[in-house]
Symmetry: D2
Subunit: 393 residues, 4 copies
């Protein structure tokens, strides 16, 4: 058989239960989180409720206590989880833990699984991923990595500056990318937060509000690590990062698509109830255009995302597809939320209506996990290479 877009009963069941959980349990806690920030206490409460509701970690392997869904099935479920900005956190499928969990599952040793993966998937701890550095270090261009790992006895000493490390404050451990003196390449290290050389500094004062643990400055102040702190193969840090990044890009797409859908739905609800110039706003041409464009963007983004998620589920590395999808979805959700703000009118930028918060929080998605421009460059290079090969076989 050729194409099939059937949602299986198990996926449909989880999707519906996630929807009910978000509506009944998560949404009622949103305003306090917007006002006071997302605390670890709130996180634990919501996570406990999610486990009780049987919607825990849909993307995580079943043997680790997660839903054990295939990646394309996950697309359906994480979109649903994303309809509240707190939903992914509640279900333990939020960045950066979700990506770290996946990476650990792929490359961690048995000991590392026991020590880092198990508590992470259980929601006992949080983690962070420390790759980005302030200029002129690793950012859009990972090769500019400046944090170093030098041998010291059996172990390593890490030194360098990281910034915009999401969730660093309060994380139990961090995966740190550093240039190691031995391989000359990049390696990943597991660093416990209580390592005295792991210093969490200032939070960047960004306009998003619903990330637990902030976007922090992190200093590796000659952090001494044991030999077994290396995650995966030494020197293959960038390759391992790809293992994390292609699916992580997609899970971002899934979650943010849910958030965009939520903004759209709230805006349409207002538009059908509000009368302007003698008719419901939703029945007026320019409002209809905003509504229809949102429906179209949602459908296009979802179709593209499903296709790419299926490719990854088939074992494809999906680099090019995930680049294309990341650019399209991140820009589509920006458009959708922007239109929702406009449709909602005067209260469109408010947190009361939720849309304003989504608008501010979603902006950075066009930048992190590869800025649109970096993905476009990468896509174009691949097309050019293929075209050259076709013309000059």
């Amino acid at each position: 058989m050729a194409f099939d877009f059937t949602v299986t009963p198990r996926v449909a069941d989880w999707r519906d239960r996630i929807a009910a959980f978000i509506a009944g349990t998560v949404v009622p806690r949103e305003q306090e989180a917007f006002a006071g920030g997302v605390t670890d206490e709130l996180r634990r409460e919501l996570q406990r409720a999610a486990r009780e509701a049987g919607v825990w970690a849909p993307q995580a392997p079943a043997e680790l206590g997660g839903g054990g869904f295939r990646f394309d099935e996950t697309a359906v479920l994480l979109e649903e989880a994303g309809t509240s900005l707190l939903g992914p956190l509640a279900l333990n499928c939020a960045a950066p833990d979700e990506g770290n969990l996946h990476l650990l599952d792929m490359v961690a040793t048995a000991d590392q699984r026991e020590r880092y993966l198990k508590p992470l998937v259980a929601g006992e701890v949080r983690s962070c991923f420390a790759m980005t550095e302030p200029p002129p270090g690793a950012g859009s261009d990972p090769a500019a990595l400046r944090t170093t790992a030098r041998r010291s006895g059996d172990g390593w000493v890490l030194s360098g500056e990281k910034h915009l490390i999401t969730g660093a404050e309060g994380a139990a451990f961090s995966i740190v990318m550093a240039r190691d003196s031995e391989s000359g390449g990049a390696s990943m290290f597991l660093v416990d937060a209580d390592n005295p050389g792991f210093v969490v500094g200032e939070h960047a004062r960004t306009i998003d509000r619903t990330t637990v643990g902030g976007h922090c400055r992190v200093t590796l102040a000659d952090a001494v690590l044991p030999a077994d702190a290396v995650l995966g193969e030494p020197g293959r840090g960038f390759a391992h990062a790809q293992v994390r990044l292609a699916p992580a890009r997609l899970t971002h797409c899934m979650r943010w698509l849910g958030a965009a859908r939520r903004a759209h739905e709230i805006a349409v609800e207002r538009a059908v109830e509000r009368e302007v110039f003698g008719a419901p706003l939703a029945d007026q041409g320019m409002a209809q255009q905003l509504i229809a464009d949102n429906e179209i963007d949602l459908a296009a983004a979802r179709a593209m995302m499903w296709h790419t998620a299926w490719q990854l589920a088939q074992g494809s590395r999906g680099t090019e597809e995930s680049s294309r999808t990341k650019v399209f979805v991140s820009e589509a959700v920006s458009r959708i939320v922007d239109r929702a703000v406009q449709l909602a009118g005067g209260m469109g930028t408010s947190e009361e209506l939720v849309i304003g918060r989504i608008y501010a929080d979603i902006r950075a998605f066009r930048i992190y996990d590869g800025a649109s421009e970096v993905h476009r460059m990468s896509i174009a290079k691949r097309v050019a290479r293929r075209t050259r090969e076709r013309l000059n076989p």
Copy 2:
């Protein structure tokens, strides 16, 4: 199993043979068609070659001599056919015959099948579909239909003015939409071209060039029709039109996506070969952006189209999905071809490079088969209705 995007071996085989046929047989005839117009002679030559190449009418039922592919499989094949502006005609999957063929297959009587469907699917004749009228008649708003069918004995007399009737010049017959005096609703009629009351007038001088038979004024000058000229049920013309329109919109998307891909590929070929400011054009940032945006739009349009085609293949009416997809794809292909023109530079608007011709020919797709605005209105109305029902159950 959940999602599946596997292309079956039979589809892949046809796709590859269509690609070879387009490249080897159709493309070499493009320039003469651009210069002198598409004649029926050229059509017959190309169609004969297509039958010999075993790529005839992929979308048509197997029992009628076509490929017998499912609608989502057709999506793959018609995209390939569309990579030449003459491809769909050569494969007998071009508008308006392809849509008429489908409609006849759905609603024609045994006699009508014999008389109209068989020669049409065999490529012996061409046909047209006469619905659109000059203002203030049926256009974006089909309900404004003014052509009338009044009873006269057993038969009917049709009177009215149609315009922009694609392929009318040289068509063997036309399906004509008229308001019938009996049901008060709209009915469809099969009108032979040699009916003295079927008068083909001037061609609209539109900027497209590759449609055989023009976009013609057609006068129904009290055309006398026998009783069995009614196609489908009397009074259910609009319902039958929907049978034709939802898939016809999608097949337009398939073909034009192929054309857009072709324009993109030609432009990229030039961009890798051309040096500007000391480097290949394809390696420069703004050119990379044009290239990447085209890749992204192609992938998004294709994913959305596949999903909607699958829904139609499952028996869904797919009105809303096909509206969304028609708007997105028609606007995406416009963007893609526009970028291809820009990337190709000075020769970008020329027929030599083909791109210029695609640019001019593709423009009307955002208008026919439902202008973007009409689809958006329809999409928004459905969303508003659903939202009202949700809020006030």
Copy 3:
């Protein structure tokens, strides 16, 4: 002589002094305002400094202590003031005081000038403008006004609900729009903040941060007003609002254009200093596109704004021009700041770089003072009316 775009020496002198004042005095206070909000204490400090720097209230009449500049000259100066989000407040040319000041200058009685205009222009007090109401009241459609003013003896009693009243908290007085029982039309009233019937309620929790006094709920709880509280002619409230709105739209454009220019400049500064993939970011094609598009949008917005400001300075009501300009500039500045965020990369959404704050604060400008959609409707209606008159003279 025909066109002239010469900036006079006096304008150039003020512009340069404003620039120096913003850079030297206002910018250093931004971060504390972003962190803690804009207090009246900070406002007073900055205003004192502005008076000392000789850049006080450029738009206000000279006889009131302002700069006395023509409206098109004001365009140059308020753009400069807008380069800090605190600049307009410091120079006493911020909304809503600036618009109220202009309105009072046009229609206030001698007593009202003494009591309200003089302290306002001197910066001794702040004010607010209470027109917008929660749905289904006055919003995009002012005619939906529900707040009432009924006669009571010589005076009036005002009752109703307002929301999103910018600056209400801490304002000394408000101009309140209400439907008066006598004229049946709308009238404006001057209401002292200490009137027991003037109740300032909750702040809308919107994503902007740099407005002093919030966007508040205001209840007119049977507020008793004396006879001389009417501002302008009774029943002509909407006409007076137009006196305020057309120039107020433009001054918003001027200030936000400055803010957008600032965001752009900061982003370019980073882009020239930052190396990515072996070259300065600013020299790479897609970054060049962001930079160039910003330059183009800035120039187009400025040219259009100057033209409209000149027309208003000539005494034209400029309704259509100011609608066009408001839509274009509000959308252009959104694009510009969005590109600046993207160009600045990971820190682009942060307050440290200022751009993030501008991004969040500027969003509502496409909604207030007439949403883009309302202006577009109004523009199209005028064009349609003119076209009908031309066709059927």
Copy 4:
């Protein structure tokens, strides 16, 4: 005095007479030109009529028989001329003659003025400008110039290939750019069309139709030229080209803005007359959006164009301003005409409604006289340079 946008009585008088001439004399000849191409016979007829109507060559110096208007005044008049695709030709202010005329007026010797400029300004002959070469020659990157001029006795021998030379067929002479063997730089040469080494080849089959003399291949087949064939200073060809290009870009903007306005007006006329879904199309929201966006783009493009034309009139080289304006106006007119097509519906791509022809003819404007990408690159480089100088004084 500061800004002034007053249109002087003389400009207003010419503008109104041009409008009347276009409507009364030029528009009635459009359809024959669209059908049969623009012949030199039609050109001569229209030009005779223009002289009689007193609207001849508004941009040309008065002492040469033109209108003698300042460049910013010319902006008003050429926009009016551009409202018919044949208007600029009729008034002798069309490309490429208008630019050649300006260039000759700036740099030609007395003899050259007599021999080339006088008949050109009188409309006795046409000319062309041969700079562009097929890849890998001069195109977006003029420095890639490959046509050579080598000394031969007193004179020169020109050899090379040009393409897309507008108006070459039937031109009396050409200004040819070549790399001269003596200076090593580029020089301009006046080449008579009857020079046996000046060979006009095939017309590019581009989708535009209203250019007299096509876009031709031109071969310089060892064309022997006398010493006095050099135009301007040897070796300063690129500098002279700038003299031509900055104003020529602007005059393109002026003319195309007129064409876009015309398309918009025709579309609005249809929209007010056409009823769809029970109401005039022009009164429906999405149509209003198309109409309003066109009004906004027209106003923004005009304001920007006036400003830049004024700067050029003041003697500024205006390189950066004319780049910004060329990009904005060329893209704005594309958007405007595209919206006009959409608004006009089914006949929107037809020549009968004129809009279809404008749509096809206007596309190349985003490519010639500097593709949008080339101008953006140039704009961004200047901004980056200025920013670097500011940061490191």
